[in-house]
Amino acid sequence: MAKRIDVSGLSAYYGSHKAIDDISMTVEPRSVTAFIGPSGCGKSTFLRTLNRMHEVTPGGRVEGKVMLDDENLYGSSVDPVAVRRTVGMVFQRPNPFPTMSIFDNVAAGLRLNGSYRKNQLAEIVERSLRGANLWNEVKDRLNKPGSGLSGGQQQRLCIARAIAVEPDVLLMDEPCSALDPISTLAIEDLISELKERFTIVIVTHNMQQAARVSDRTAFFNLAAVGQPGKLIEIDETERIFANPSVQATEDYISGRFG
């Protein structure tokens, strides 16, 4: 069940350092939203506030509201563990559990959340691996360690692991930056398929990638090094790339800085 994310007045800190300042935006369900911006502009930090991963970094703390449909992720009675089950995440470098087999990697999240019958588990694992376009490559070696796959396959394994628990939202933090062009293409294809079922937010350094996969694009920037990052604008991807309303966006996209 894809859900809408409504962020209002969100700031995040590392200790006393403010990393992002007063961000408000809406992320539409069943669409891909890309975050772009120069290094250090806080786009990854912002992404990590959307599933409360930011607060696991030492000194990390968040102010503001993130509504997932009608529930505030930062409400006082909300369990961050439950949030992360609802909002899945894929990381910059593929990180399958190194001691687990491919099957167990995909089943890991399911096993946390309840007990499944064996065939039920196998069914979900297969569906998730198919969903991640990985099934045909690994169906004969489900019991081999996940760390034996190539980088691109590992990343798709991580995506399979994330979608196996049927999250409402899927966050991707530069999912292709450690991959070769062919694997990148495979992941991008996958993203366009996945958006039929999930709300997807992707952070990317690669503007062509943002243009290729996303429906909406948010541009982040910072005034100077050491200053908090800010949301400059968010709009339809076509509009951002063709005719942005802010000068800085155009400068960044046309390669004048960043």
């Binding site: 529930e71 009675s77 969903g131 079922r197």
Partner: protein, 359 residues
């Protein structure tokens, strides 16, 4: 199974039990502290009521109660996963507290009983002419013995250990290096008493008499593998670019090692040697077999029986009188202080001289 085009727009069947919402009942933040307080109170209460004398038992009762209550309350208010998480947290805390109590007690006892007779006199006099069960006497002869034996052991083992480590890191390929690596590991596990017996067997064969040197040789056997291991680690930290840069200038390999590699790692190497010294300084068993112990000052480690701090502690403990116990504790305090100072200085050097590894 048939084709991969089935790639699913259809929603998954709900997980068994259904997924709980984001909002769940949660225990307040002060819950663990309150649980702990209640358990401790109950532990003391039960201990008093049942007339248990030992406070060890009170503590154990309180610990078990704490685990049970926190699991019970959490699974009632929150859910089973949270309860397991809380249980794990509680177990980890209990482990920590369980371990801290005896270790703190050890330090405290040594300190409080050690200061009783520890003074200038104690440090500067031997046990000559002092019957074990009377007060008086000191630790000077043992201090001399320890310093000389440990010094000799370091003189023997530091060069061997260092060179072996250099061989393993800079030259070591093939069967010999593998064998050395393996046996260094094996040597790390040799009990000190076995090292002592080895030297003893040599003494029996060669007809040698006990002396500080014999003890030092046994200590050296214990020290070498520690030095090799730590030096190896440090040499491996030296970036290869540094070696290659020097070699590319046409400097012969041995000079690269002497002038570039070892100076870069010298801080860590020193730390390793000092930690090894601290480890062997407290060894008693080899001294027991090889140095024999003495009440008198013998500052010649090559001839005749000597004493050493750990041996002195053992000796005074065996006498079994109040006065000798006091001396044992005082010597223990001196020994701990010696070992701790070595440790602190060594770690200080490590921090100060640490190679910058871009972390």
């Amino acid at each position: 199974m048939t084709s991969h085009t089935l790639r699913a727009t259809r929603p998954a069947p709900p997980a068994p039990g259904g997924r709980p919402g984001l909002n769940q009942r949660r225990l307040p933040r002060w819950a663990p502290a309150a649980t702990a307080a209640v358990s401790v109170a109950l532990g003391i209460g039960i201990g008093l009521a049942a007339g248990l004398e030992s406070r060890v038992q009170w503590g154990l009762i309180a610990a078990l109660l704490f685990l049970a209550i926190s699991y019970g309350v959490t699974s009632a208010v929150e859910n089973r996963r949270q309860a397991k998480d809380r249980l794990a947290t509680s177990v980890v805390w209990v482990c920590f507290l369980l371990a801290v109590v005896p270790l703190l007690s050890l330090i405290w006892v040594t300190l409080s009983r050690g200061v009783k007779v520890l003074d200038g006199y104690f440090l500067t006099h031997s046990m000559a002419g002092v019957p074990g069960f009377e007060t008086g006497g000191g630790v000077y002869h043992a201090l001399i013995g320890t310093l000389e034996q440990v010094g000799l052991a370091t003189l023997v083992s530091a060069p061997i250990g260092l060179l072996t480590a250099v061989y393993l890191v800079e030259y070591g390929r093939g069967a010999l290096a593998r064998a050395v690596t393996f046996f260094v590991d094996v040597m790390t596990g040799i009990p000190s008493i076995v090292a002592g017996l080895f030297i003893l067997s040599i003494m029996l064969i060669a007809g040698l008499q006990p002396s500080g040197l014999m003890g030092a040789l046994a200590l050296a056997i214990l020290m070498v593998p520690v030095v090799v291991r730590s030096t190896e680690e440090m040499l491996k930290l030296v970036p290869n670019e540094l070696r290659e840069a020097a070699l590319a200038l046409g400097v012969p390999k041995w000079r690269v090692i002497l002038k570039v590699v070892i100076p870069t790692a010298i801080g860590g190497i020193t730390t390793g040697v000092m930690l090894a010294v601290a480890r062997i300084a407290g060894e008693t068993a080899p001294i027991l077999l090889l140095v024999f112990g003495s009440q008198l000052i013998n500052s010649n480690p090559f001839d005749g029986a000597q004493s050493s701090l750990p041996f002195y502690i053992w000796e005074q403990y065996r006498v079994g009188s109040e006065a000798s116990y006091d001396r044992a504790w005082a010597a223990a305090l001196v020994l701990i202080a010696f070992v701790m100072i070595l440790n602190l200085v060594a770690r200080g050097i490590a921090r100060w001289k640490a190679p910058k590894t871009g972390r």
